[in-house]
């Protein structure tokens, strides 16, 4: 075996297994064009090809596949939301995630950890109780726990009363999980490509053409392609792409920053979140602490990260885990998110016929990947909006039927 390894190392030709096909030439026409080759776009392509027999599909991306917010999120999966519509949608996603490694025959490193949303105030206890009731009613395992039980679930957490914001209780969401976010995109891409879906990274959309109120073609920097339907799945740049299609969205592009520490031995059992301290932290399977904070205070189309973010985050992380004082940060970054007025996504029909929206993914996009892809594929294939995503229509903003998800969707309130 050492000899074989040496021979491999000295060889000029490495037998690399290529899982994704090389980028083909663009055809003049496709049944479906998907703008955005992140987890969402690739999932929609996979479900279209796998369950609806629609394989004449091109997935376009300005950069590389899965290189946007799919690579920048903190990989948390949970369904402990506040509105019944949100809980049902994210729970479908969680159930799909559970079986996804099997479905794709590709290991996404899905790992159920449990999810603790700490409450430091009476108001936060009240919201936790509310969420626990809504979740339980819809069959989602969430319950209110108090310091004695929290100490058993997460022994290293600082539960001292002698802190600025002592922990009064927590919403314990047992199925909370993490997964390898890149693997989700790769798994969908590989299986979609096997069924004939064409993947076109490094292909930028420059214009969207319409005829008689219906989308007819997408113009790219590699040529013009006619199409029957388009899915826009470009969270972070949704307003810019929608403007090409001729309409505005209720979205502000706001950076969300995150960081990882150096790898440590496993000590953190769960995903720990605090709305009052504006932080969340989990430990990756490599041992790094994956940490994030509230959204930036103002809009920006840039993935720069800031010292203010790192300083503010660390002060609060150290309040919960004081023994991390000597641990170093390895990387910090940002992703540009689609923040909506009600902290819920926008999925479904758009003002342009044949043009379908998968947008409004603020800080809740990764965990929605499978359910969004599944329902968007069903929408494109049948032309009918599935009940699951009907409440997330763009029209809700004109009708003032908002889905107030702020209390459960973010740590920045």
């Amino acid at each position: 075996m050492p000899f074989g390894l040496l021979k491999y190392g000295l060889s000029r030709r490495y037998p690399v297994e290529r899982q994704l096909p090389p980028r083909p030439d663009l055809k003049p026409s496709y049944d479906v064009v998907i703008i955005g080759g992140g987890g969402h776009g690739l999932a929609a392509a996979y479900y279209l090809s796998r369950y609806h027999g629609i394989t004449d599909v091109a997935v376009l991306d300005k950069g590389y596949l899965g290189g946007g917010n799919t690579a920048r999120n903190t990989a948390i999966i949970r369904s402990n939301y506040l509105t019944p519509e949100g809980v049902a949608f994210y729970d479908e996603s969680l159930r799909l995630f559970r079986g996804l490694s099997h479905e794709l025959d590709f290991n996404i490193l899905y790992s159920e950890r449990g999810h603790l949303t700490l409450a430091h105030t009476d108001a936060a206890i009240r919201t936790s109780r509310w969420r626990a009731e809504v979740n339980t009613h819809l069959g989602v395992e969430s319950r209110l726990v108090f310091p004695e039980e929290i100490a058993r679930i997460e022994p290293t957490l600082n539960l001292s009363r002698a802190t600025r914001y002592p922990v009064l209780g927590a919403l314990y969401h047992v199925p909370g999980a993490v997964a390898r976010h890149d693997a989700v995109a790769w798994g969908y891409a590989i299986r979609a490509a096997e069924r004939g879906v064409e993947l076109h990274p490094k292909t930028e959309v420059t214009a969207i053409e319409q005829t008689g109120g219906r989308v007819s073609a997408v113009v790219t920097d590699r040529g013009r392609i006619r199409c029957g339907a388009v899915i826009q799945a470009v969270a972070g740049m949704s307003s810019v792409v929608a403007k090409m299609a001729g309409f505005r969205l209720p979205i502000r592009s706001i950076p969300l920053q995150a960081c990882v520490s150096q790898p440590l031995k496993p000590f953190l059992n769960t995903i720990v979140v605090s709305g009052s301290l504006h932080i969340y932290v989990s430990q990756s399977s490599r041992g790094e602490l994956v940490m994030g904070s509230a959204s930036d205070p103002y809009p920006l189309y840039s993935s720069r990260s800031s010292l203010e973010f790192a300083e503010g985050l660390m002060a609060h992380i150290l309040e919960l885990f004081p023994f991390l004082g000597e641990v170093k940060l390895m990387r910090q970054w940002a992703g540009v998110t689609d923040m909506t007025p009600d902290f819920a996504p926008v999925m479904g029909l758009s003002p342009l016929a044949g043009y379908y929206l998968d947008a409004g993914w603020g800080t809740w996009g990764f965990k929605a990947t499978p359910a969004c892809g599944l329902n968007m594929a069903a929408l494109v294939a049948t032309g009918e909006v599935p009940d699951r995503i009907a409440p997330f229509t763009l029209d809700r903003f004109a009708d003032l039927r908002l889905l107030g998800e702020k209390g459960a969707a973010s740590v920045g309130h």
Partner: protein, 100 residues
């Protein structure tokens, strides 16, 4: 530390300010349709480029306008709102103030 120059208080740390959204033309609240008003409340141009925005210096509760590039985060100019808004806007409802 990023510096924003307040027209009233001079250059200050941007952490002292609160962002207030794009400066947009408000439709006439007494004359516009529900759809126009909802559009004004909810929708945004969300431009990637130079945008005119409302900002507030929190400590002095002073609202002003900044022109900022939303791609590079460069602040081009800040000035008092009175440069744009010359007239007082009254919010009298048609029935004379909503009664009660």
């Amino acid at each position: 530390m990023k510096i924003l120059t307040c027209p009233l208080n001079g250059p200050r740390n941007i952490a002292e300010f609160s962002y207030g959204g794009e400066v947009t033309a408000m439709p006439d609240p007494n004359g516009c349709s529900d759809a126009e008003w909802a559009d004004h409340l909810m929708m945004a141009d969300n431009t990637a480029g130079i945008v005119r925005e409302w900002w507030c210096h929190i400590a002095s509760a002073y609202w002003f306008i900044a022109e900022r590039n939303t791609v590079t985060d460069e602040i081009i100019r800040t000035y008092p709102a009175s440069e744009v808004f010359k007239q007082r806007i009254d919010f009298d409802a048609p029935d004379g103030g909503g009664g009660r």
